[in-house]
Symmetry: C2
Subunit: 339 residues, 2 copies
């Protein structure tokens, strides 16, 4: 992705459900103050079914991301009722979002049991245990299929090594359970090894998932970039978020086919506090910063990032989830003031 | 299981590979000093293939556990070469070891980032992602089958609630990913709910695995008894072990068909330090204590347990894995002195 300086970029915005609109508002304000040359194309993603996609996501919303190749999404609740796929899964599928990237860094000034987390999880986002293929064999016996393909594994491995190289990272750890799932996780590892050979400057190791989780809680600083199949990524990325304080503080972005980058707050839509000006916009703001870096708006990204870190570190304007009393707008204003 | 007081009980002992014999020796010494009325039936489980089981485990070894219904096993390495199932898996299968139980408690005196861990993981140990059913669909596309059955799910759920009730625990959390694997994990949850209804005095909740791992690293004291399918159990039990210092400090026991109880140290065989009198026998000792409680030798169990905790807490005789300089025999002697 490249932009000529001075140009305005069009980006898709899905505020999402629940607290989504409030925290999206926070991003818009902060971007304004920082003078980010982005024009938002905002789409409502909600509870009306679009007959063309048979989902709660309109065709226009998807086209907007495909056209802009860059976007930001808030939390989306799963529509109620049987048989509905979650909107998150639908988006991953429709936009071919093959890698979910989550940098996880201890926030200076926000104390948890860990102050030494500085890693990135890269999750394969399209297959594995999420195939949706399940059936009952006989009464009382059900099975699910986990699918691993060479194509998707190579693609996410390639992304992980490329990310490591272009982000000054030194090591990629492939997480697996190939001692048990020899064929599926075995293929995943084989693909990682193939890609590793093309990046001799990046160290490569393989870590069994149970051991990985134990090591993460004992000594997370042993890890740098982690790449893994879908379900392990789901588990480990949330575990890592927990190390630094939770999903409310963890940014994420999804890399999709054709160079799409859809940044995303991975926390829930928190319907209980929606509309009350109580939500913490940090995860969405940090995700928006990831989007800016993808666009190579590094100057604005740095300024906004630092302003967020300073606001959290000072601790005067913490939202309730972090034990404070600030409102969403108090926090947003503090970030804007720091820019 | 019940024993008349004064009676001697016969128990199987598999010292295992690597450091196994040394730490098993430690258990024997400690049991002697505590006057535990157990006679060990020791079996070599090693690298010779028994043609009757086609495994590295002899028929006599299995028969010994089946007859005694109680045993203790050290670490076992997986035989090298393609196609060999790990000895651990073979044991689970042959003995129908359907539940792996791991109490996880912060050790007073051994400092980690957590001092508030007091939970028990109960893992379904026979099916799920460990079916071994995998194949290549076409070149570059492989699949694994996860199998969940009503029978195995009910059995482990029943065990978990029974355990909670008889061990003064208040809540059982079923861990799952039924929002994605609706049929397999859905069946697991259905079985847990059925059993929960029979135990109105035990609270019951369902927690999605990613959320569970995040909560565990933020606030493990929110959990009491956790029950889950095989792979989630593998992951979460190791994560929990990490919270209190690692597998070298975590006891475990397996409950099998016909009332078998096979206690087990779940750490590796550490071939690098084998035979050097450097290994930490704590996990095997604590596992042996679980075996004693199963036999209702509660007096001896308490005395040994306290002696282990005191030795660790004093910190004078720590083995290298805990940052100390004590040998296996130094540590063992200290435990014996405390009895
Ligand atoms: C909501 C759920 C379907 C989703 C997942 O399992 O991928 C979530 O946990 C995530 O990580 O985005
Ligand atoms: C060694 C391996 C096959 C085993 C498992 O995955 O069950 C181990 O991790 C365990 O937890 O006992």
């Amino acid at each position: 992705f490249s932009t000529t300086s001075g140009e305005t970029v069009c980006a898709t915005l899905f505020p999402g459900d629940g607290i989504g609109p409030e925290i999206a508002e926070s991003v818009k304000q902060v971007f304004n103050v920082a003078g980010v040359p982005i024009e938002w194309e905002e789409h409502y993603v909600g509870t009306e079914v679009d007959p063309r996609t048979e989902s709660f996501l309109t065709w226009e919303s998807l086209e907007s991301v495909r056209r802009n190749k860059v976007g930001l999404k808030g939390p989306m609740a799963t529509p109620i009722g049987k048989g509905h796929r979650s909107l998150n899964l639908t988006l991953r599928k429709e936009l071919g979002l093959y890698a979910n990237v989550r940098p996880c860094n201890s926030l200076p000034g926000y104390k948890t049991r860990y102050d030494d987390v500085n890693l990135v999880t890269i999750r394969e986002n399209t297959e594995g245990e999420y195939s949706g293929l399940e059936h009952q064999v006989v009464r009382g016996v059900v099975e699910s299929l986990k699918i691993i393909t060479r194509q998707a594994s190579l693609r996410v491995a390639e992304y992980a090594f490329h990310y490591a190289k272009t982000n000054g990272r030194e090591r990629v750890s492939a997480i697996h359970k190939a001692n048990i799932m020899r064929k599926t996780d075995g293929l995943f590892l084989k693909c990682c090894r193939e890609v590793a050979e093309k990046y001799p400057e990046i160290a490569y190791e393989e870590v069994i998932i149970d051991n990985c989780c134990m090591t993460l809680v004992k000594n997370p600083s042993l890890f740098d970039v982690l790449v893994m199949p879908n379900l392990y990524g789901d588990i480990i990325s949330d575990l890592c978020a927990g190390l630094i304080g939770g999903l409310g503080l963890t940014p994420s972005c999804n890399i999709g086919e054709g160079g799409i980058c859809l940044a995303e707050a991975v926390h829930g839509s928190a319907p209980d506090i929606a509309g009350k000006n109580l939500a913490n916009p940090t995860a969405l703001l940090l995700s928006a910063v990831m989007m800016l870096r993808h666009l190579q708006f590094n100057n604005q990204a740095d300024r906004i990032h630092n302003a967020i870190l300073q606001t959290i570190s000072e601790g005067k304007f913490r939202t309730a989830d972090l034990g404070g009393k600030a409102s969403t707008s108090d926090f947003t204003k503090a970030v804007c003031d720091h820019i």
